[in-house]
């Protein structure tokens, strides 16, 4: 298949003078948002005890451990701002991302031992479940840096129980093990109760000599028998018991290395524990990149920084999607699938780091005369029409058949509406696309370039496809909402306005409510909010989008569960005709 993939068709054009000039203000606005997001991320990193204080206790911080463990320039953080239940700590208290260890891709997660010694907090189990889902979808090892003091007891009601509560990750670890996906755990510090299960549930345990893991901690042992309340005598008893257990917390490294043997390895130094992980990762099953690469990796012909000129932060402004994609994929080359059909949608094969990937995106702007063919009104990119949705269905089905990972680049305002759209079967064709995606079983990632709105957000590779979407990233221009705020305000209050006017009542109170809806929609759809609630897994600088796409391709091809021989692929041949 070398003639198909080694050199594909060039696409994209150099920026014109006028474009560069017009784009300056836009670039500044995008970078302003990125600076705000970066400041928020740095704030998360600085939470809790200062690094020096942790180091003075003879421990590394989580960030130092990650820095030591992960190969240089391969860390791709995820869920940095994720805090769906608005914890006062500002974090779910786990830090995660994808990165390479000893040259192999892994999903990596650890407890932030600077914050409450790595306690369980509200929203944390949801964060962990996203991470275990990620390892499952990409079929790459999950690596844990365990250092967990157990539940923040004053808020246990927010996270201890429930279907996706704090115990669910232990089931997920069992599930990953049963699927043949290894979970490696480096264990540091004191890990009682929940922390103990965080430590015991992975596949292979690498322990630091000072760590302990236990069913219950000293606090639980000393206060096990409820007596209906506390008095001075029972308090004194507690003090003595606590002193005793404080000096000998249960489940020491010696017990679990020498007696139970839970710990397969025990290390004197923290760096030694991390070296142990590195050594194991070196031997993890992984195809040599050459097994799947279809060409030598190469950068796009056009500078990725030009995305700041090309992607308007103003949601009303149109742009050329193909120009965006040309600045993200290897060599700015592609094989476009059905370019003359369904003009609102781009579908094509591209290369990321030499690997074959499928890209799907929303084209923007006026779609030309007589489109959509079933209606008398003009078609505008960003919206989905019959042809575009049929094309995506076909493309996804063929990608599944050829085992090609899919990257969605979404900027959609919704699906066409009205009786003409209903007659054109858009409702069912949209759901058919969801059916096609769900049955594809190939890894997919979403780049939410700008707008995710209405059902189109779901069916264009949205994170709601829990078993197919590995992860989603947003940009400084990302907005997510069921519909535009003004549209929502009209839907909610238009009839009320008529009623008020007919009753000769003042309209101002209703107008005020409508404007509040608009303001709320704006606030609750912007990038930082999307990241905090988990609508996307990370807000990424435009200049770093290609890094994440490259990492996705590397993960997807590291150890795929099934293979289509390149010379058995039909999609490239259908494109060729």
């Amino acid at each position: 298949m070398r003639p198909y993939f080694e050199k594909m068709a060039d696409f994209g054009t150099a920026l014109k003078k006028g474009q560069i000039k017009r784009g300056e203000e836009n670039a500044a606005l995008l970078k302003q948002v990125e600076t705000q997001v970066a400041a928020a991320a740095e704030g998360i990193k600085q939470l809790g005890l200062p690094e020096e204080k942790v180091n003075a206790r003879g421990e590394m911080t989580l960030w130092q451990r990650l820095n030591y463990l992960v190969d240089a320039d391969t860390w791709h953080p995820l869920h940095t701002l994720f805090n769906p239940l608005d914890n006062e700590e500002g974090t779910t208290n786990v830090v995660d991302g994808i990165g390479r260890i000893s040259g192999k891709w892994a999903v990596i997660i650890g407890f932030d031992n600077k914050v409450m010694a790595g306690a369980w907090l509200a929203g944390q189990s949801e964060n962990i479940l996203r991470v275990t889902d990620l390892a499952k979808r990409l079929n790459v090892p999950l690596v844990w840096l365990v250092n967990c003091s157990g539940a923040k007891l004053s808020e246990q009601h927010k996270f201890y129980a429930n279907r996706r509560g704090a115990g669910a990750p232990f089931y997920r670890h069992a599930q990953l093990n049963q699927m043949g996906i290894p979970v490696l755990a480096a264990i540091f510090g004191t890990n009682p109760a929940g922390g103990g299960y965080q430590a015991i549930s992975p596949t292979v345990l690498f322990a630091h000599k000072e760590c302990n893991i236990a069913v219950g901690g000293a606090g639980i042992v000393s206060g096990m028998a409820p007596k209906g309340g506390f008095d001075t005598a029972s308090a004194q008893e507690l003090i003595e018991n606590t002193r005793q257990f404080k000096s000998h917390p249960p489940g020491s490294a010696q017990i679990h290395y020498n007696q139970t043997g839970f710990f397969r390895y025990l290390y004197e130094e923290e760096e030694g524990v991390l070296d142990g992980l590195k050594s194991y990762m070196r031997n993890m099953p992984a195809y040599d990149p050459e097994f799947f690469r279809v060409a030598a990796p190469c950068a796009p012909k056009f500078a990725t920084d030009e995305l700041y000129t090309l992607l308007p932060i103003d949601q009303k402004k149109v742009y050329a999607f193909d120009e965006i994609l040309a600045r993200l994929v290897d060599g700015s080359e592609h094989m476009a699938f059905r370019p003359d059909y369904g003009p609102e949608i781009y579908t094509g094969l591209c290369k990321m780091d030499g690997y074959l990937v499928a890209c799907i995106g929303n084209r923007q702007g006026y779609l030309g005369k007589d489109y959509p063919e079933y209606a008398e009104y003009p078609g505008m990119g960003g919206k989905l029409y019959r042809q575009g949705m049929l094309k995506m269905n076909e493309f996804v089905i063929l990608c599944a058949r050829d085992r090609i990972p899919i990257i969605w680049l979404q900027d959609t305002s919704g699906i066409d509406v009205g009786d003409a759209a209903e007659k054109a079967e858009l409702l069912a064709i949209g759901q058919s696309l969801i059916y096609s995606i769900e049955s594809s079983d190939v890894p997919q990632m979403l780049v939410l370039l700008r707008k995710g709105s209405a059902a189109a957000h779901y069916l264009m590779g949205g994170p709601q496809g829990n078993s197919t979407n590995a992860f989603s990233i947003g940009t400084a221009a990302t907005e997510v909402y069921v519909m535009h705020g003004e549209t929502a305000a009209v839907a909610m209050y238009a009839r009320r306005l008529v009623k008020e006017e007919d009753s000769c009542k003042p309209l101002e109170p209703i107008i005020e409510k409508m404007n509040q809806i608009v303001a709320d929609y704006k606030e609750f759809s912007r990038p930082q909010y999307c990241a905090k609630l988990g609508y996307v897994d990370e807000i990424v600088d435009l200049g770093a989008l290609r890094r994440y796409m490259t990492a996705f391709a590397g993960c997807a091809y590291q150890n795929p569960k099934s293979i289509c021989p390149q010379h058995h692929m039909v999609l490239p041949r259908i494109i060729k005709g």
């Binding site: 014109k16 006028g18 149109v318 006026y366 505008m380």
Partner: protein, 73 residues
């Protein structure tokens, strides 16, 4: 020689960035039309001088209406 800038679709002219007599360059953003909640820029087709502007901000235009004329030598 005259080069017409025409409306690619029906919509409302919301912005005019050129004046009669202005020297303009190819790909300058001449006007902006709003339709279907989106703003579509109309680019100057060639280097030249703005000879005529046939619309004003707020005008509704039909597909293929002439919006402005650029004159070249």
């Amino acid at each position: 020689m005259q080069h017409k800038m025409v409306a690619p679709m029906a919509g409302k002219v919301i912005q005019i960035n050129i004046n009669v007599g202005d020297s303009v360059e190819e790909d300058d953003e001449g006007l902006v039309i709003e339709a279907m909640k989106m703003e579509t820029p109309i680019f100057v087709p060639c280097n030249g001088v703005v000879g005529q502007i046939k619309v004003k901000a707020g005008d509704n235009v039909e597909e293929d209406d002439v919006l402005a004329v650029i004159e070249t030598e």
